[in-house]
Amino acid sequence: MNISQKWRQHLLTVLVIVGFFALWQLLCASLNVSDLILPKPTQIAFILWKKMPLLWPHTLQTLYTTVVGFAAGVLVGVFIGLLIGSSKLAYDVAYPLLVGFSSIPKVAVVPIFVVWFGSGTIPAILTSAVICIFPVVVNVATGLASTEPELEDVFRVLGASKLDILWNVGMPRTLPFLFASLKIAITLSFVGTVLSETVAANKGIGNVMMIASGNFDVPLVFAGLFILAIMGILLYATSSYFEIKMTGWNNRKNDFSLG
């Protein structure tokens, strides 16, 4: 019963996606929408297939900068989050500064990075990193701050140090919060990369899309969007896999379906 339920779920997912594209194709065809406004999925597929050798290095570039930026952003975010979540003083004092920094639109930040580091890969990595720090910090700090004191009491009675308690209780307890923020951070990190590539780069999907839209090659723009979407899904799936492995204990409602 469990297996057929799973297959049914997968089938439904595939049907939903296929249905979405089928609907899109039908609407474009029947309403005679111009290619310059909304290309048909078949057209996008054709462009992807035809221009893949051209697009591949750009895809890799975007993927590389996003993954590096994402990793850097998450590491810094976790570190800051741990600091803020473990100290009540830091928790109360640091937030205004953090919120101030994160409220700055990253569009405004890219030119500054370009001035400091030149155009190309580095500003893309930096923008991607900076844009996903804040959600990670907030979630990790919240997870730590909301750890039930009763869990910590067990350790305190044993004479455990604050570091012991952080490692044994705080960090496992905050993992579900961290993974939740990773889902947001992944999508944001693509935003950061593409932003930077659009403004100041000569490689990457963002750059390709900007040039394509300048030439009114809308199908190519959409092809770029597609590639970004697929990369996003891949990263999300990877994160999801680790989430299930490491925080299965938190999502018990699903336990029956996993057996």
Binding site: L151, D153, V154, F155, R156, V157, N168, P172, W249
Partner: protein, 276 residues
């Protein structure tokens, strides 16, 4: 010198509730002391003070010859090994039952230094032996949510005992359980105590439980907490549940009840007089 000593200890929560007022208490080595009294009389507070989870507003709490403050955030620490079982089992949901009860071995020296070597051998056997003793054979790999309340409390007791503590603090550990499970756990508790004879401080509102398990009972009154009576329990060990329904047992329980009841009446009268 007594093993544990509370010396003129008072505790006030913030600017509000006075949980304890100028309390003195001495506990000797290998004593099994029960603190009984109505809810809110300060029994759990005394336990937490001895454990070092709370700091007294005034007075001193001395355990094993050293003054006890807040463990972990103060250099003044007790060198006594303490095991504690709370009213909620609070096992960590991301660990198996066995890993949960091995936690003290991870934290406390000298076990901590050997933990990475022995965690799959000697320590694991230790954990399994304790689990078997409390009747949780084979549940070591399960997760906390797969066990019932009674089973979790048994696991919590194992966790409190695995590091061979000199002092065992029990905060109404059987409060949330049914009568049968409770009587079963009393027997287990008794046999565990006979094995290693740690000093035990048990907080309970069940007078029969106190009479069954302890060598000495202290009756406390409501806010502010004070010790009203302090009596030894004369029955020989090992005691049985049948004994706990005998006449002299019932007499002891009645005495304790009367003591608490008088204290509550006095308080009620005092309130009326103040209101008038």
């Amino acid at each position: 010198m007594a093993f544990i000593e509370l010396s003129n200890v008072s505790l006030q929560y913030g600017k509000g509730t006075v949980a304890l007022k100028q309390t003195d208490l001495k506990i000797e080595n290998a004593e099994f002391l029960s603190l009984v009294g109505p809810s809110g009389c300060g029994k759990s507070t005394i336990l937490k003070l001895v454990a070092g989870l709370l700091k007294p507003t005034s007075g001193a709490v001395i355990v094993g010859g050293r003054e006890v403050g807040l463990i972990g955030s103060s250099p003044i620490q007790t060198s006594t090994r303490i095991g504690m079982a709370f009213q909620n089992p609070t096992l960590l949901p991301w660990l198996s039952i066995r890993d949960n009860i091995m936690i003290p071995l991870k934290i406390i020296q000298p076990f901590r230094a050997q933990f990475s070597d022995k965690k799959n051998t000697a320590f694991k056997d230790k954990a399994e032996a304790l689990l078997a003793k409390v009747g949780l054979n084979g549940f070591g790999d399960k997760r906390p949510w797969q066990l019932s309340g009674g089973m979790l409390q048994r696991a919590s007791l194992c966790r409190a005992l695995i590091h061979e503590p000199q002092l065992l603090l029990l905060d109404e550990p059987f409060g949330a359980l049914d009568q049968f499970t409770r009587e079963e756990l009393w027997d287990i508790m008794q046999s565990l105590w006979i094995d290693t004879k740690p000093t035990v401080l048990l907080v309970t509102h069940d007078l029969r439980e106190a009479a069954y398990l302890s060598t000495r009972i202290c009756v406390m009154s409501s806010r502010p907490g004070r010790i009203l009576a302090d009596s030894a329990v004369p029955f020989a060990r090992p005691r049985t549940v049948e004994q706990s329904y005998s006449a002299d047992f019932a007499e002891l329980v009645q005495e304790l009840r009367m003591c608490i009841s008088h204290a509550r009446d006095d308080q009620a009268t005092l309130k009326e007089l103040n209101a008038a």
